[in-house]
Symmetry: C2
């Protein structure tokens, strides 16, 4: 029952990427090799997708004007988010939540238009398209970590405003501004854990058996 | 700029898992080592999550009665999906879409309750909780592939019916029935590609520059 198992070194490499991957907000401005970027996008394209619909689209932002406009949109939402956080407003405002202006590669990840024709696996759970796109982004994240690059997923923006600026169809949906680049250092723990925003929960508290809130034996 | 880069062998292992991972629906009944299962769940728990909210919950289905009830729910939705597919109904009904009764490990993956308190990164995109859970499942998928195990994500069910059977809170949300186990063979291509349900798109058609539908230079 072990003939499909990778070598111990290969298994360790996969877990290493999983454990060392971080959501990065600090980047060096050194350029990213175009072939490396292509490898990452190919990795994304080999993610699982519901009914093999491949709903992912990636918009590379090479225009400096657009980059600044996206940064402005995120900054607007950052302030609205802070206000919505009430008593944690000041604490939140001290966090660095994105590296849009520094990252050498900026991508907007979006769900494609005309998704309603895809019924396979989505009749009762239409949001499975987003799950597929998230798996694609996780592929980029892990491959990037192995290649030595950091990635940050920014989801603080008004999706309608982003759609307008990138001429996206009404029924498409942007879900991530991805900041990609070399980094000085990877955070040793998730930045929000390092900064005491939140703690890692105990895995045992998140696992149930047969019925909600019943711990596994 | 390369000091964070893994060795070539490690990088290859990460890409190998990404390219060889498959959505499996055929399983052997051999048991899964509990320590291996724990490693996979720890990998899931080290996925990125929006605002470090860790919204993932996993319900291990050890009850044979519950397993059969979940299978019945999926079978009901499979027929409704087939009807919704109109002219592809018969083609769809010939596909094997799940391995719920065979897989030695069955997990329901769900979003936790009381998610509305998590505003960080979700004020305008509340669905980022699902994106986090999908990244966690992709971690399981890749780690399982390296460990030689197959995983299938079944999203054909009425989430309300699953919630009722597992005593889940009204504001929680099941998004996957995960079938996990050893396999005779991994599909060489996605099963839906092998069975001519859909073709892999050209990556270049999914990449734009600055504006929708404008190919990258």
């Amino acid at each position: 029952m072990t003939h499909h198992r990778y070598s111990e070194a290969e298994i360790s490499a996969v877990y290493r990427a999983i454990y060392e991957r971080r959501d990065m907000r600090h980047f060096l401005t050194d350029p990213v090799d175009p072939e490396l970027l292509n490898r990452l996008l190919q990795a994304a394209h080999h993610a699982p997708s519901v009914g093999f619909m491949q709903p992912w689209r990636f918009i590379r932002i090479s225009s400096l004007t657009l980059r600044h406009e996206l940064h402005t949109l995120v900054e607007q939402e950052r302030i609205l988010t802070a206000q919505a956080l009430n008593e944690r407003e000041q604490e939140f405002m001290r966090l660095k939540v994105e590296g849009i202006l520094e990252a050498p590669v900026l991508l907007v990840a979006a769900l494609c238009d005309q998704r309603e024709q895809h019924v396979f696996g989505r009749r009762t759970l239409p949001e499975m398209d987003l799950a597929s796109l998230a798996c694609a982004i996780q592929n980029i994240w892990l491959a990037a970590r192995a290649e030595g690059l950091g990635l940050g997923w920014v989801s603080m923006f008004d999706p309608e405003a982003v759609k307008y600026r990138l001429n996206m169809p009404q029924d498409s949906h942007p879900v991530a501004i991805l900041c990609l680049g070399h980094v000085e250092a990877f955070y040793t723990k998730p930045m929000l854990e390092e900064q005491n925003w939140a703690e890692r929960q105990n895995l045992g508290d998140l696992l149930f058996e047969n019925t909600w809130n019943t711990p596994c034996r």
